[in-house]
């Protein structure tokens, strides 16, 4: 990314972090939401101007092997969700639950007016993990029923 362009949003190293995630977002895309290893979290509302969809693929040992996101939101929202997908890869489910919005905000140096973007990213990962857990429970219930 060239350092020559100016923008109305001001300059500084933290700004470049957000712009970097925004211009070269990591892990944009979708996973197969019907697969039993995939948890999908959809948070936010178009009326609020922020919607994040975060998907995680978990292997049989409970480790997150892949994560994808799609976001409708400002540059900070896109950067927050991109960062979260980077962080959860390789973590176990329990570790991923500990990701806090304050860590995201500190990493990207979000100003106070943009803190809600990091909060939404935290909600998104928690929603994805919740969805995965619910899916696993349903599978266990099916297995128990089938064996009876």
């Amino acid at each position: 990314m060239s350092n020559n362009t100016t923008s109305s949003f001001g300059r500084g190293r933290c700004y470049f972090k957000v712009v970097d995630h925004y211009e070269n977002p990591r892990n944009v895309g979708s996973l197969d939401k019907t697969s039993k290893n995939v948890g999908t979290g959809l948070v936010g509302a178009p009326a609020c101007g922020d919607v994040m969809k975060l998907q995680i693929e978990v292997d049989d040992q409970g480790k997150i092997v892949d994560a994808r996101f799609k976001t409708f939101g400002c540059g900070s929202a896109i950067a927050s969700s991109s960062l979260v997908t980077e962080w959860v890869k390789g973590k176990s489910i329990a570790e991923a639950m500990t990701i806090k919005n304050t860590d995201i905000a500190k990493e990207l140096c979000l100003p106070p007016v943009k803190l809600h973007c990091s909060m939404l990213a935290e909600d998104a990962i928690k929603a994805a993990l919740q969805d995965y857990r619910v899916k696993q429970q349903d599978i266990e219930i099916e297995a128990v029923k089938a064996s009876n």
Partner: protein, 474 residues
């Protein structure tokens, strides 16, 4: 080789002149730095410099020096509703009044005052001619915000005893709405009229809302966010027939559409200098004399400007405003044709390549240079960030200090998610076709990229109706 010799001689002449200049004026040209080469400028170095130029190609050095002056590329300017660059002809008109003819126009006793006063009166005539008014009806102010404050508060307070109702619309500029809020706190009754979904005022509703206690109706001519042009002639007719004063904030309309305050039956009109390629910090207020509009002045003092706005009139700024108005009057038709052409080009290009784009505001009753487009499923601030080589503005919440989307878009009934997705393109006198083409292409490219990243676009492609989803609140 001949060219090199000519430049050599020219540089020697320049060196001689700089020595002379140093004697006469004290300005030392020897400390000038040429941006392409560090050069201290005394006579020995001139020779070395010329030798350098002759060894390398002179012309490439000249070209390089131009490019190296700035180490940054500035974005294209497509935000003409926010402000406009000053026309060089306006600057030419203003300069003598900054350094030479610097007298106070209200000084009666000496030539400095007389010449400044005559410049000010000439500027007053130029402003009046643009709107078909009498020069005695123009009051110079510090801008359209002050003009709006003066007219709304001044007229309302003057007629407070018998009339305490003021009517305005929900899409007015913040200064008008805030002035009305202050009046409400003083005990006035304000009606904020809703607008139709195309941004225009409902004339039937306006007629019904006018009461015997109404003193003032304020409706802006051209909206600064969506560009719609209100039916001012009809509103003027209604107000005149009901004996109510009609104020219009014409900051975005003056010099861009033909205005005639008598045909329009307008009693008060706000004019802004920096929206018509004039200087910032000056504006004007048209106050009708027949029938007389009475108002309480907001700024008291020595009684300048018919007692309505005391304070020394800034002669250079007033001269600048006058020059800008005269130029606008001469070039009004040409500018309008040019801006319409570019606007049509931009909109057609974008809308033909990108689906699900909505133009906010009435497509016919508008000033073509202000285009507000909503790109569905893409958020406004992220698109602005993507279009970082173009200076634009957005009606999205993220770019305002609060998290609320633009109140104008909400007033015209735009869906909240579309209000978050809007971008305003401003085209003006100095816009070029190349700028418009670049903007359109960049916009198309970035909207496509952002839609790939958008979960809403993905859901719509899968055939899901977004209105049927129960979204989580946070």
């Amino acid at each position: 080789m001949v060219a090199d010799i000519v430049v050599f001689i020219g540089l020697w002449l320049f060196h001689l002149c700089s020595l002379l200049a140093k004697e006469q004026t004290g300005i030392d040209f020897s400390t000038f730095e040429f941006s392409c080469i560090q050069h201290s400028g005394n006579s020995l170095d001139i020779c070395q410099y010329v030798g350098y130029l002759m060894r390398n190609n002179i012309f490439t050095e000249l070209i390089k020096s131009r490019a190296l002056e700035k180490d940054e590329l500035r974005p294209l300017y497509m935000d003409f509703q926010a402000t406009t660059p000053m026309d060089p002809r306006v600057l030419d008109a203003m300069l003598p009044y900054q350094v030479n003819y610097y007298g106070n126009p209200h000084s009666r006793t000496h030539a400095y005052g007389w010449e400044s006063e005559s410049a000010m009166e000439k500027a007053r005539k130029q402003v009046a001619d643009l709107i078909a008014a009498d020069p005695r009806e123009i009051v110079f102010t510090s801008g359209a915000t002050e003009s709006n404050n003066m007219s709304i508060k001044g007229v309302a307070r003057f007629y407070k005893a018998k009339k305490n109702h003021v009517i305005t619309t929900q899409t007015e500029h913040k200064c008008v709405l805030d002035s009305c809020r202050v009046l409400e706190a003083e005990g006035f009754d304000i009606t904020y009229l809703p607008v139709k979904s195309n941004g225009l005022v409902d004339l039937q509703l306006l007629e019904e809302t006018i009461r015997p206690e109404t003193s003032l109706v304020s409706v802006m001519t051209v909206n600064n966010e969506i560009g719609v042009m209100q039916p001012v002639e009809e509103i003027g007719r209604i107000c005149r027939s009901r004996n109510v004063f009609f104020h219009t904030d014409a900051a975005q309309a003056v010099g861009k559409v033909p205005i005639n305050v008598s045909d329009w039956k307008v009693d008060l009109m706000s004019i802004s200098g920096h929206k018509i390629y004039g200087p910032k910090g000056v504006g004007a207020l048209y106050v009708r004399r027949r029938p007389r509009v009475r108002m309480e002045p907001l700024q008291n003092g020595g009684g300048q400007e018919r007692g309505l706005r005391s304070g020394t009139v800034p002669t250079p700024l007033a001269v600048g405003l006058g020059a800008a108005c005269e130029i606008a009057q001469q070039e009004l038709e040409y500018d309008h044709r040019w801006v319409s052409l570019l606007a049509k080009r931009l909109v057609q290009k974008i809308m033909s390549e990108v689906p699900d784009v909505v133009m906010n505001g009435d497509p016919e009753q508008r000033y073509p240079g202000c285009i507000n487009l909503s790109f569905a499923y893409v958020e406004g601030e992220s698109l602005l960030m993507a279009l970082k080589d173009v200076a634009l503005s957005s009606g999205s919440a993220c770019t305002s200090a609060s998290l609320e989307p633009s109140y104008v878009l909400r007033a015209i009934g735009t869906d909240e998610d579309l209000a978050h997705s809007s971008i305003r393109f401003g085209i003006g006198r100095f816009s070029t076709e190349a700028e418009v083409d670049f903007t359109a292409e960049k916009c198309i490219q970035q909207v496509k990229r952002l839609r790939e990243m958008s979960p809403l676009w993905e859901m719509v492609q899968e055939g899901i109706d977004l209105k049927s989803i129960k979204w989580s609140q946070h």
